[in-house]
């Protein structure tokens, strides 16, 4: 009976195992192999792709920009999500549902589609932002033409797209904090800041950690937004690992070098994944 049960279980999970093995694990290792070949993929060159990258200035710029992009964007997504979640939490009952529904819209629209809207808002000659700002005597701002502003713009769009996700996660976490804790704190004379610092943050710590780490992975590996907004420009200054790997590996058909570039994402992703896993397991044990 026991033997039969595990046979059934094996067949039930077999498609899943095959899918992961063939289309996730195998390509992941294949990528390492590809990274050790020369451009024509005819001979093994060891680490020379890696050492080649280390010597290129663009590579270090991509490393720096990826880190700046991911850290800044995740920070502002988390901050805006946290603040807005509190405001939504204050709204009573039915109205709260409407606000929540409205504020999640950026997350629902496919990022490739909404980034087109941003591209149009940032248009050099017809920018609706510059039109509006001109009434305040500001601008015109070269949203995508200047290095600083282009970096600012890709982060802005990423924050716009990702903040609603944080909002929803934090709102769910806020609802799970018992009201009695706040009431008790009010009676003891705590102000709003003390309530946030001593009640809200400790109670939400786990959700904040998981959401932030998860978002860090997704943001670090982002492709759509930068690809559509700037394609890495001006002068490769907004490239992330993903967009640069695409340009090098697919557009310039240097597959080994492209594979090599994308492999540099692994260490950071792995660290974030380990922490997420630890937190998820902790939650599992608590439940």
């Amino acid at each position: 009976m026991l033997g039969r049960k595990s046979t059934v279980a094996f067949f039930l999970t077999l498609p899943l195992i095959l899918l992961i093995a063939l289309l996730v694990l195998y390509p992941a290792f294949y990528s390492v192999y590809l990274a050790t070949l020369n451009k024509a993929m005819t001979k093994f060159v060891g680490f020379s792709n890696f050492t080649f990258l280390f010597k290129r200035e663009t590579f270090w710029m991509v490393v720096r920009q990826s880190c700046i992009f991911a850290i800044t964007a995740v920070f502002f997504k988390a901050l805006i999500g946290f603040i807005v979640a509190h405001f939504v939490h204050n709204i009573p009952g039915k109205k709260q549902r409407k606000w929540r529904g409205m504020l999640l819209v950026p997350w629902v629209i496919p990022p490739a589609m909404s980034t087109l809207a941003w591209l149009w808002l940032f248009d050099p000659s017809y920018s609706a932002f510059n039109y509006t700002l001109s009434f305040f005597g500001v601008g015109p701002i070269p949203w995508l033409g200047d290095t600083f502003w282009a970096r600012f713009s890709v982060i802005l769009v990423n924050v716009w797209y990702g903040a609603p996700f944080f909002l929803i996660m934090y709102l769910a976490a806020l609802k799970s904090v018992p009201d009695q804790l706040y009431e008790a704190a009010s009676i003891d004379g705590a102000n709003w800041w003390q309530k946030i610092w001593h009640i809200t943050l400790p109670m939400m710590r786990n959700i904040i950690a998981i959401t932030t780490l998860f978002s860090l992975i997704v943001t670090f590996a982002n492709f759509d937004i930068v690809r559509i907004l700037t394609s890495g420009g001006p002068l490769d200054t907004t490239h992330l690992f993903a967009t640069w790997a695409f340009q090098v590996g697919i557009q310039s058909s240097d597959i080994p070098l492209g594979a090599c570039v994308s492999l540099f994402m692994v260490p950071i992703l792995a660290v974030a994944a380990i922490f997420i896993l630890r937190d998820v397991n902790k939650r599992g044990n608590e439940a």
């Binding site: 992961i20 709204i91 950026p106 496919p110 609706a128 929803i168 492709f223 994944a273």
Partner: protein, 303 residues
């Protein structure tokens, strides 16, 4: 003495209550104020899409007030919805998303059932592995997958590159891990007594799955379906890399590559296309918001 004390306590208590409720009213007013500001930030791009989609090219290039439509026209919609090319993109996207949802469910549900209920050798490791797979981004795998498809194509002679249906095999790597993960959570929350009773009554494993687990975990199933659909619909990198001919493109890639022609940007049509491309996920979200949000939060709170 005692009456005096009560007299004293009475009014002061009232004052405190009133001030607290006044605090609440002000907190609510400020909340609304800031929510309106954030709502503007969040909704400007989609609203601007709608505004631009209603303008003719002439009005756009006249550079009048960009936030207002002076001569609303549906010509962009008519043009796109009668263009074979655009309908082709829509058809490709729909076919892929629907098939991917079905494939995802066929893989995820049995696997989640086995992982939630049948403890077998390596089941805990596999569950963790599924979660880790979910964390592997598409931008890490598109180059090796591209090369793999090219190699398989060379060896077998079956055309894999530049065929939309290949995406049906690739997308499940993005949807299956998460769907399996949240289904494990939903299945595990079903009381064991329920399926034990069914087994005692002589039901097979398959019957317990179809008669008990699937109906009871239906909300989770709907959430997983929505997730799989929206992920497949929005996927941009894989189709951009694996397909190139116009008749093989999906909507996001089609709009970004064919409507943007060199320096000539037909923004009215691009915005209309983007809006139509965003419509299916938005419609699903409008009608099934609670399931959508349940699926979103399930990843971190279930399992």
């Amino acid at each position: 003495m005692s009456t005096l004390a009560i007299d004293k306590a009475g009014p002061s208590r009232k004052v405190k209550l009133r001030s607290m409720s006044r605090d609440r009213t002000w907190a609510l007013r400020w909340s609304y104020f800031f929510l309106v500001l954030f709502a503007i930030f969040f909704l400007v791009p989609p609203i601007y899409m709608v505004i631009t989609s209603l303008k003719s090219s002439a009005e756009i290039s006249a550079a009048t007030n960009p936030w207002w439509v002076f001569h609303p026209t549906l010509s962009n919609y008519v043009e796109l919805l009668t263009s074979n090319q655009f309908l082709r993109f829509f058809w490709n996207s729909s076919m892929i998303s629907i098939v991917v949802v079905i494939v995802t469910m066929l893989i995820s549900i049995p696997a989640a059932f086995a992982l939630a209920r049948m403890k077998f050798w390596g089941s805990a490791t596999l569950a963790t592995g599924v979660f880790l797979t979910y964390l592997i981004p598409d931008s890490l795998l598109f180059i090796p997958l591209f090369k793999m498809l090219a190699v398989v194509q060379d060896v077998t002679g079956i055309t894999l590159l530049n065929r939309w249906y290949v995406l049906v095999f690739i997308y499940p790597t993005l949807t299956v891990p998460f769907c399996t993960w949240i289904m494990i959570g939903y299945f595990a929350s079903i009381p064991k007594e329920l399926d034990e009773a069914a087994l005692i009554d002589g039901a097979s494993w398959l019957q317990t799955l179809t008669r008990i687990f699937i109906p009871v975990a239906l909300p989770g199933l709907i959430a997983a379906t929505i997730f799989a659909f929206t992920v497949s619909w929005a996927q941009f990198l894989y189709p951009l890399v694996f397909t190139t001919s116009i008749d093989q493109l999906v909507l996001p890639v089609g709009i970004t590559t064919t409507l943007i022609k060199g320096d000539v940007f037909n923004w009215g049509q691009i915005m209309t296309g983007a809006l139509l491309g965003a419509a299916p996920p938005l419609v699903i979200y409008a009608f099934l918001m609670d399931y959508y949000i349940a699926g979103l939060t399930a990843g971190a709170t279930k399992g």
